[in-house]
Symmetry: C2
Subunit: 316 residues, 2 copies
């Protein structure tokens, strides 16, 4: 079998490529194009993300982790649109065809993709430095799509889960820092296994004014909302949700990490004060911690209790 | 301005990102996801292609050419599905942010994308070795989609245009071979400026049984049809369409290049003999040369007049 056929067969035989029972997928892997019939009343939303070895994840990482995290981080964009995951494509560039690596990578992707109904329907495999491009696609009703540009003055600003753990984990996953085994396991997972807030995004989409996922750091991402909406924001450093594990380990920098560190893939959204009860009901039903961290203002960007430079992930 | 913002502004300000008058594009560049409303009665078809510098195109090539060819080769997959081009996403990995390079690259993409109505609606830009991933999307009626798997015994096998020029051009564009200026100009264009057969694909889709674009070499690609359809093929080497320029330059190898060389992006399709008149009418109306090169058989793969190894582009 040629290398190319071997690679294709690894992906094609994965559970995540099984189109059985999926009436929307008319053609999957194997023709010039894939073909999809979008369900009636739905629009298509999609997002493309590229991950480069040595920049977005460490060299020689576990392919199972790489696969899982690639899907998780990309699917998080669907959560921010309140969309239901539908299918994805994979552009994989790798230095050599390594069946064992590929099988583990596919297994990692499938571990998240299969249970959420995200089907692999196509892509391309090429030879070169390890680079992974995913395009994930979801369905959402036209009128129920949260956008970055709809925040309104007086809105509460919310964040799901906790922030800062993934940024704190970076020196651990790169091997620059060594810590106790228990702490290692917790933070390793917080970097490699983010939980995209899909159900929360779908449940909240009707209630929120604006929403996005926190990938580059809260301060930077929240400013994407204020800029797109033409408003300002005032948040309180002490109100940022921080895990007990992070506070125990790094009491001095925990809140700064929560403010500026990326890679947590929680949702940040704004909603009118009148929606507080409904939002509480939704997030309690989902057992998802959700914290009000501040409020949308007329202009400016203020972080009460923070002195320092507001940074964030630099894409370039 | 941050590098990242600069890159985004170059793409966002291009004519190919202008969503004005496009009711199908609800959200373009700038949110967590792009959002599209598929026109009524249409299905979505899409294809992802990755191009790596030094493998799919030479190092230090003209960014204008790289941009044009990236769109052309990827859009060719839409032609093979008889689809109307609609929108695309771009995953661009490059070693450093170079505004001049980016502007020329965007101009090359727009040169083809804009006139065919292919809108840039999103993507990702990252730092790393030059790697370009495009996903192109088109619309086609569910019942009128040519597939690779529908060839029938007795079908004529057709090829549009001429074959072999792009493969002959490779040593020229890599700089390994030097030839006269006139010849250089012709073959340089044949590699860098393929003409995806979009109109032909749309016009032929109702008439053909199966269709694909010739990207990896006729012999290899035609076998994708015969394998998927569970049939065989018999073609005649002497009937392959070859340009006068290639025959003049390389009389001995012209037909072998036409059989095994890739990168021409012509359409290969099969159709019942009863459709000959209609196909002639369509291709004459489009002023597109179209040649019958053989016939679909029960089994096997035979090339009359050819002795040698049947190769083709190796993806890995």
């Amino acid at each position: 079998m040629q290398e190319f056929e071997l690679i294709r067969s690894i992906f094609q035989s994965s559970v995540m490529a099984n189109t059985e029972g999926r009436n929307d997928i008319l053609l999957g892997i194997g023709d010039d194009c894939a073909q999809v019939q979008i369900p009636e009343g739905q629009t298509l939303v999609f997002s493309m993300d590229t991950m480069v070895e040595g920049r977005h994840f460490p060299f020689d990482a576990d392919p199972l982790d790489i696969g899982y995290r690639a899907v998780a981080t990309c699917v998080s964009d669907l959560a921010a649109m309140g969309a239901k995951p539908a299918f994805f494509t994979l552009g994989l560039t790798m230095p050599e065809s390594d069946p064992q690596w590929l099988a583990a990578f596919a297994e990692g992707m499938a571990e998240l993709a299969e249970p959420i109904g995200l089907l692999l329907v196509g892509g391309d495999t090429t030879k070169g430095p390890l680079t992974i491009t995913l395009q994930v696609h979801g369905y959402v009703e036209k009128e129920q799509t949260p956008r970055r540009s709809q925040a309104q003055v007086g809105d509460d600003i919310y964040v799901t889960g906790t922030l800062g753990d993934a940024a704190a984990a970076v020196p651990i996953v790169t091997g620059e820092m060594h810590i106790s085994a228990a702490r290692f396991d917790y933070f390793y997972d917080r970097f490699w296994r983010p939980s995209p807030r899909l159900i929360a995004g779908m449940a909240l989409k009707r209630v929120v004014h604006s929403m996005l996922d926190v990938s580059d750091g809260l301060a930077q991402d929240l400013q994407h909302i204020t800029t797109a909406s033409g408003v300002g924001a005032k948040i309180r450093l002490a109100d940022l949700p921080v895990s007990d594990e992070l506070r125990d380990w790094q009491p001095d920098s925990a809140y700064t990490l929560a403010l500026t560190g990326g890679d947590d893939y929680e949702l940040c959204f704004t909603a009118p004060k009148s929606a507080r009860e409904e939002i509480q009901l939704i997030t309690q039903t989902l057992h998802l911690p959700c914290t009000i961290i501040g409020e949308i203002t007329e202009s400016g960007f203020e972080v009460e209790g923070f002195q320092g430079e507001l940074g964030g992930w630099q894409h370039f």
